[in-house]
């Protein structure tokens, strides 16, 4: 029994179908607990007031925006090496979710930045590299949409994902060099000194867990949709031949 068994679409459908209700429940539970705890049961920051609470959306969304790309990279590599269709479809399914997470991170950041920094947008390295990440997602999705042959599309987007990853990292360091930032440093590093205070830290952890679960749930859901779409296409093609 190896993990590659789940690369079989049928096995994947069975397992993901069985897991999905649990995932949905767990996602809802952690998100509700985390957000309610964060929004209503933690005090206001003494300088930021209640705007500090946007952290419960901003940080997890930003985290998942990057991790979604990482997951797409892994799935693309698996597709290129082992040719498992589920893998390619999972990468395809994850892209719009990552795009949305990027958008949430940018939007919540702007809403927070307006009262705190006095501006919706600053050409800060972190903000800029997120905008670039957003463009990468757009390009990736557009390439998927543009190519009609499914396998060609999967191959080309995989190549794009790999090259794009290198350039995304490169851009991250390039913009660091290009402009000094307004954005604060890490809020969750293992080095305790830098962290946000514990009052905010624990609900934030729950929210992050909630967002991770949300991402997994959505990827499962969307991958299942993609697989069904494939089957439908195959059926239609067969009928046209008959």
């Amino acid at each position: 029994m190896s993990i590659w068994e789940y690369a079989n679409p049928k096995r994947f459908m069975q397992v993901s179908g069985a897991l999905l209700p649990w995932l949905v429940g767990l996602t809802l539970l952690t998100l509700i607990v985390g957000l309610v705890w964060g929004f209503f049961f933690t005090g206001d920051d003494y300088r930021q007031g209640s705007t500090v609470k946007i952290i419960y959306l901003h940080v997890p969304a930003a985290l998942m925006a990057i991790n979604a790309w990482m997951m797409m990279l892994a799935a693309s590599l698996i597709w290129l090496v082992r040719r498992h269709h589920v893998s390619a479809l999972a990468a395809r399914a994850a892209a719009p979710i990552g795009l949305t997470m990027t958008l949430i991170a940018l939007a919540t950041g702007a809403i927070w930045g307006q009262p705190m920094w006095g501006t919706w947008w600053a050409w800060d390295p972190r903000l800029t590299s997120f905008l670039i990440l957003f463009l990468f997602y757009l390009g990736y999705i557009a390439l998927w949409e543009a190519i009609e042959t499914p396998d060609t599309a999967a191959d080309l987007t995989s190549v794009l994902c790999i090259v794009g990853s290198v350039f995304a990292v490169l851009s991250r360091y390039a913009v660091n060099f290009w402009n000094q930032g307004l954005h604060q440093g890490a809020s969750l590093s293992l080095d305790k000194e830098e962290n946000v205070s514990d009052v905010f830290f624990f609900p934030l952890l729950v929210c992050i867990a909630g967002f991770v679960l949300l991402f997994v749930t959505l990827v499962f859901l969307r991958t299942r949709t993609e697989i069904r779409q494939r089957r439908l296409d195959a059926l239609e093609a067969r009928e046209r031949l008959a």
Partner: protein, 218 residues
């Protein structure tokens, strides 16, 4: 490979190859900018490095789809794919030809346009140097983008969406070099980074482009 390079060069220079189109675009862009932002010399000289670099980048983008599209349509790309020369070499030769027909003229004409934008005196040498080092990267990244979209009927817009984000690091370090040169600051770091990006791109991206071409030619 040399034959192929010369062939692409000839095709590029002769009528219909789009040679000069990029240059004209570059010129028009530089002429339009003062209309948009106003003619104050100090202001223009401040933004000149950025405008020249962005202009070079867009002019380069304009001719990217020509790298593979025509050969793909008339079938010569299929012949090249089965030729004894590896496809990686083919893409490298074609990207190089693209650079000679678009990048190099841009490098040569940039100082002239710098005068129009009131580029400060010490910046000229850095402008030429950074463009000469950076534009090969633009051509090779572009060849990769062109290889990705070669099979598409309306790949032009998609091509720019794919390629422009990849241009970000090159643009940052290139424009930064000129800006620092204009202000008399040391330029070693951005110039070294620019050269590093260029060399890495020239060395590695032909492989990615060839992989994309193989997929598209299947």
């Amino acid at each position: 490979m040399i034959r192929l390079f010369l062939r692409d060069l000839a095709l590029g220079v002769r009528a219909g190859g789009g040679f000069g189109l990029g240059l004209a675009f570059f010129l028009i862009l530089v002429v339009l900018v003062p209309f948009g932002v106003g003619p104050e010399p100090q202001f223009l000289s401040r933004i000149a490095p950025g405008i020249l670099w962005v202009g070079a980048l867009l002019a380069c983008l304009l001719s990217l789809d020509r790298i593979f599209q025509l050969d793909f349509e008339d079938g010569s790309l299929d012949l090249l794919a089965v030729a004894p020369v590896p496809l990686e070499g083919v893409t490298a030769a074609k990207a190089l030809a693209h650079w000679v027909t678009t990048g190099l003229p841009l490098v040569l004409i940039a100082p002239l346009l710098g005068v129009l934008l009131n580029l400060p005196g010490p910046a000229y040498s850095y402008m030429i140097l950074s463009l000469a080092i950076g534009t090969p990267a633009l051509s090779f990244i572009g060849a990769f983008g062109a290889a990705l979209t070669v099979g598409l009927k309306r790949g032009g817009l998609l091509l720019s969406l794919l390629v422009l984000p990849l241009y970000v690091p090159t643009l940052i370090f290139g424009a930064e070099t000129v800006r620092r040169g204009a202000e008399g600051l040391p330029v070693g770091t951005p110039l070294a980074m620019l050269a590093g990006i260029s060399l890495a791109v020239v060395a590695l991206l032909p492989f990615a482009a060839a992989a994309a071409l193989r997929i598209n030619l299947r």
